[in-house]
């Protein structure tokens, strides 16, 4: 039984990696790939249905090309994922290492702070942050980064505490290896698998939250192409122009699904290996 699951899992893994890779390429090369300028309005062509000449996925309420907007929207989504996960990872690493290495009151204080952040409903906290610092993608990325940093801090702290007890770390310490070297050679590489899994899952969450905030009008600002923003304006035309909601919805769904699946598969693979 086991090998068959592994094979199936491997196929799925390659599929998700292929999707994510393609998405990344599309995002990077958006200006080359997109058939039209995502911002240019063409009022006479508004609500053109998918397949109309020049509008493979239809045109929106201003006559803008939906396909081009989705392609440029991938940029916003991936950028938000990368930057906010980067911020969360950095903050989480620093706090987690500090808490795990120093222990005692520092540990208690830092973890209390992290638990406090975690105890708020994520989207609500993001809305609060964005309302205070202003609407826009940079604010959204910073907010998501801060909000998700406790997830990383917890993992890093727990791993640090465990690894610290490992004989090879203790002997390195006894031999007088500097702390910086212990962290970079012994601690970080050994906690990497768990961090990678957490990164992929958080990436998916970040994309969903960006889409939600943009849908609420707090994230990406018009006329910027963003999947969540596209859904926001599409909700007015659900009965008459369903494709306006369908394609950005599909893009969000597939992307989030892929990252979640990737996280799960990596988690399984790494656990099997242990």
């Amino acid at each position: 039984m086991k090998p068959r699951i592994a094979t199936a899992a491997r196929v799925v893994l390659w599929c998700t990696l292929l999707y994510i890779g393609t998405l990344a390429l599309v995002a990077i090369a958006a200006p080359l790939i997109a058939p039209a300028d995502p911002l240019v309005q063409n009022i006479p062509a508004r609500f053109s249905s998918p397949g109309t000449a020049g509008y493979p996925l239809g045109a929106d309420d201003f006559g803008r090309d939906v396909l081009s907007r989705i392609i440029f929207g991938a940029r916003a989504a991936l950028l938000v994922g990368l930057v906010s996960v980067g911020i969360a990872l950095l903050l989480g690493l620093v706090t987690g290492l500090a808490a795990g290495l120093l222990e005692g009151p520092v540990d208690s204080a830092l973890m209390l702070l992290m638990d406090a952040v975690l105890s708020f409903p994520t989207v609500l906290l993001a809305i609060t942050v964005v309302s205070v610092f202003g609407y826009g993608l940079p604010q959204v990325m910073a907010a998501i980064g801060v909000i998700f940093s406790p997830l990383f801090a917890r993992i890093v702290r727990a791993e640090t505490l465990t690894l610290k007890q490992e004989p090879y770390v203790m002997s390195a310490h006894a031999l007088g290896t500097p702390l910086r070297r212990i962290v970079s050679v012994h601690l970080l590489p050994n906690m990497l698998p768990k961090i990678v899994v957490q990164c992929t899952v958080t990436f998916a969450l970040a994309i969903v939250i960006e889409a939600s905030l943009s849908f609420l009008g707090l994230g990406a600002q018009p006329p910027q192409p963003s999947w969540g923003l596209m859904l926001r304006s599409a909700r007015n035309y659900l009965l008459d122009a369903p494709w306006l909601a369908f394609y950005p919805g599909l893009a969000i769904g597939l992307t989030v699904f892929s990252f979640n699946l990737l996280g799960d598969l990596l988690n399984e693979l790494l656990q099997i290996r242990r």
């Binding site: 018009p222 009965l239 008459d240």
Partner: protein, 502 residues
Amino acid sequence: MRRLPFSILAALIAASIYAGGAPEAARPQGDTLRFALSGNPDTLDPQATQGTLTFQVLRSVYDTLVEPDHDGRIVPALAESWQVSTDNLSWTFQLRRGVSFHNGDRLTAADVAATFARLLDPGLGSPHAKEFASLREIRTPDEYTVVFELDHPYSPLLSSLATGWSAILPRSLIAAQHDFAAHPVGTGPFRFEQWIRDNRIALLRNPDYWIPAVPIVERVHFNIITEVAVQVQGVLTGDLHIIDMVGPTDIARIERDPRTRLDTGLSSLVMVLAINTRRDPLSDLRLRRAINHAVDKQSILDVAYAGGKVIGTFMDYGDPYYVDLADLYPYNPQRARRLVAEAGAAMRTLDLVLPQNYEPHVRAGEMYQQMLAEVGFDVRIRLVDWSTWLADVYAGGNFDLTVIGHTGKLDPDGRLSMFESDNNYVGWTDPHAAEMIRAARRVAGFEERRALYRDVLQLLAEQVPFVFVGSNYRYIAMRENVEGFHMDAKLDTYDLRRVRLR
């Protein structure tokens, strides 16, 4: 699966029988008009609020001394007639006899005097007190005569007396400190019955109303429904008779259905692209004219505001004071580009601020951005929430361009008095215009006032502190069996007195 306890089942069955049967038998369906109200009013005290929702309900509970007719002219209501002295300082109203309040009191001049004494009482803090600032005293020479004595001539008084906040309240209840906010008592066509907050306001026919055989329906239920989709569904299924929220994409569906019809009319909103004339480079009239020529107004109305009519100045179409200036700045990108080149100003990025909660304005803003980009303006959109817009843009003047709609006023002074000085959000004034605005307040004759306002409106249009885009259509959907409904576009209220359900 767990089974439902018997008691719950029994309760469900009992409830369904009750809901399905009893009330239907008690009163015939056709006699209750069910009207969708788009929100919960903040209060039902007509003197204590500016909220339209309040007046949409209270128009049926109260009367005013005079009222606008269907063409916007002021006609007698509780006052049968009125005269103005030659110096325009004293306004005498003869009250209608035989009018009674819902609590049984007979309407007399003392009620009118008490009503305005309450409105001007600083303790109440009415937002409308300033409209009666010219009032020196109210005299009541006899039971049915009221005289408003003014400090200085003030022609807009008559329009103020026709609006909802000039509703006449009974003196006895004012003296008794009655809670008008929760339980209104007036002389209107319907008596207040019940207000279940966030759910429904129920009114009952007033059999003693001063117009014979009016009103016609037995009850009015204002069902409070804030979602467009729910309102539309309600009128399509017949749960509601009249709704006033219709999305652009619902229009076709309502028109297609033989059981519903659509009442379409121009709203009295003037949609504008406001230009901050205090700031460079927009203080240059040539650039403001360029902006005006760059905007395809009909396209903005059709796409962002679900249809409308282009108007060229700060007065809604259909107003007796309207001046047709719609063709002053036709859509002409070439001319706009020429004007921009002529001005030759160092162009910086313009800050277009949009009120985020008003989606049509945001959509219009996206279109302005593109239209202005085509003639050489670099415009960046900034979305703000409504309170920020009011504080930062409307009060603070922190913007280059913004998009908004200005509501209608019965008297032109209501729209134009803000240009008496440059203390308005676009920072525009003109000594000649200011003088005419002041003069129009002092003269009482319609033709004289019209001539003065015509010049003010012409100046406003030429000087372009705003791109006056137009008025949008407003849509009211109703069941096909509803007759006699009238919406007052100026006041944004509903006259339900002659509504009949066939």
